[in-house]
Symmetry: D2
Subunit: 153 residues, 4 copies
Amino acid sequence: MDAPRSAPQDPAFAERVRASFALQGAMHTIGATLAEIAPGRVVIALPWRQELTQQHGFLHAGIVATALDSACGYAASTLMPAEAGVLTIEYKINLLAPARGASFRMEGVVVKAGRTISVTEGRAYALHEGSEKLIATMGATLMTITGRDDIKH
Amino acid sequence: MDAPRSAPQDPAFAERVRASFALQGAMHTIGATLAEIAPGRVVIALPWRQELTQQHGFLHAGIVATALDSACGYAASTLMPAEAGVLTIEYKINLLAPARGASFRMEGVVVKAGRTISVTEGRAYALHEGSEKLIATMGATLMTITGRDDIKH
Amino acid sequence: MDAPRSAPQDPAFAERVRASFALQGAMHTIGATLAEIAPGRVVIALPWRQELTQQHGFLHAGIVATALDSACGYAASTLMPAEAGVLTIEYKINLLAPARGASFRMEGVVVKAGRTISVTEGRAYALHEGSEKLIATMGATLMTITGRDDIKH
Amino acid sequence: MDAPRSAPQDPAFAERVRASFALQGAMHTIGATLAEIAPGRVVIALPWRQELTQQHGFLHAGIVATALDSACGYAASTLMPAEAGVLTIEYKINLLAPARGASFRMEGVVVKAGRTISVTEGRAYALHEGSEKLIATMGATLMTITGRDDIKH
């Protein structure tokens, strides 16, 4: 997936993403960290943990989605104005294989950066026994929010 | 949303769902509990917690999806044979309003219970200041898995 | 599916929907007609035709989606201001059963009527040998467009 | 989007796809043609026609989806056994820009070719005033059907 050639409107996009990520209780709870922040592209790393499993011991699909949704949302955020907030309108996730692995990598990439609506694609990979496997794909639609004090960054 | 009139194939469907739910580390971690189990319909309850928030203090969309996905998956499971496992193929979630509230109720209902493929719909409600608000809708596709030791219930 | 209690902002919503529908070459080509227009709810009727089939002789999934997408879009349009246009941002369709039947009924219902974003649900039914069967469900997200001369109604 | 490295199980996959496509009344009606058939990848071409428009004169989103769904379905079909049929379980489409153009190109690519479930991604491009523009993305889930006389190819 190629990121669009859009230049970021906010030169401090990476600091903005890091500050917002630090405020997400959910990311801390699941142990997710920011692995890469580039214009139109964000990667999140996530280790496997027993507390995040479904009944077969794989990572719960919802946890995969939680981290992938954040990767997509922050990818969109990198191309938004400094003062804008981002809200997820919807996403769809396809679970291609059980989330079996020691750790996981979630990539979000912007497909379209619109003034109001941005569209992103996400891919989740499991790192398992030395190889990397695509386990999920996501399509997410996000909205740029401006002028609302309760929705910032 | 009306559940289809299908009778459950496994009379012990509720016990089966409870036993499987108890194995989900993720449900325990996010504080979700089973509130209702009926043929073709499962409700999960979830209190708000700081550890599950996104950057604005609302419940993270991925956590809403995690609980809603489980409600949908278990709703499908109630109509499956006793020995079957269930895997989520894909889901889509629309986030209608910020997940602001003291607690949340996630309903999953079966729209079609097929031999291999089941289709469900989910709705998430926030309980906030004495009223209930629809905050998310989900459409999820699930697969009945039989004869695999690693995918049971 | 219950329509939200929103009252239409434009008392002439039905005439507006009829006028816009008449401009859709695609609806004419596939033989679709407006069967019902209510606030937050639109029904489209569609007879089976050989020209609209896939390789097994069923109605092509894309044609089901075309009519269902229009039902959803016009359902959203009924609750929009008189001067607003509507654009589909995305939709997802689940095909529950082959589209086998003499005719089809597509219902679109508004789940959330927001200022910018509306969310709708659609259901397609096949009328086959005297009974009606649910063959597809849709979730569609639409955007209210104002102040653009190329996007009206 | 890279196609998976899977080799086709049926060496006559291209002839099989062409024969099936020829049976689709809907493809003939909308003027779609097969532009490319490779293992895990199919491209469909579609000229703009007044009969396929929505109310603003753009190609109707449902028609874009119809052709894109076929591209995805046939992409999956190229990697299936000779005797298998393919049915679309669900798809989601994001409409990134109005379908304005003289002609359109729809690409379907396989992301996962499973025994029962295949997952594909589609992209629709408009050819407009000498340049090509991405106007829609799709994620589609398909099912391999065997042993049913009514669902072949």
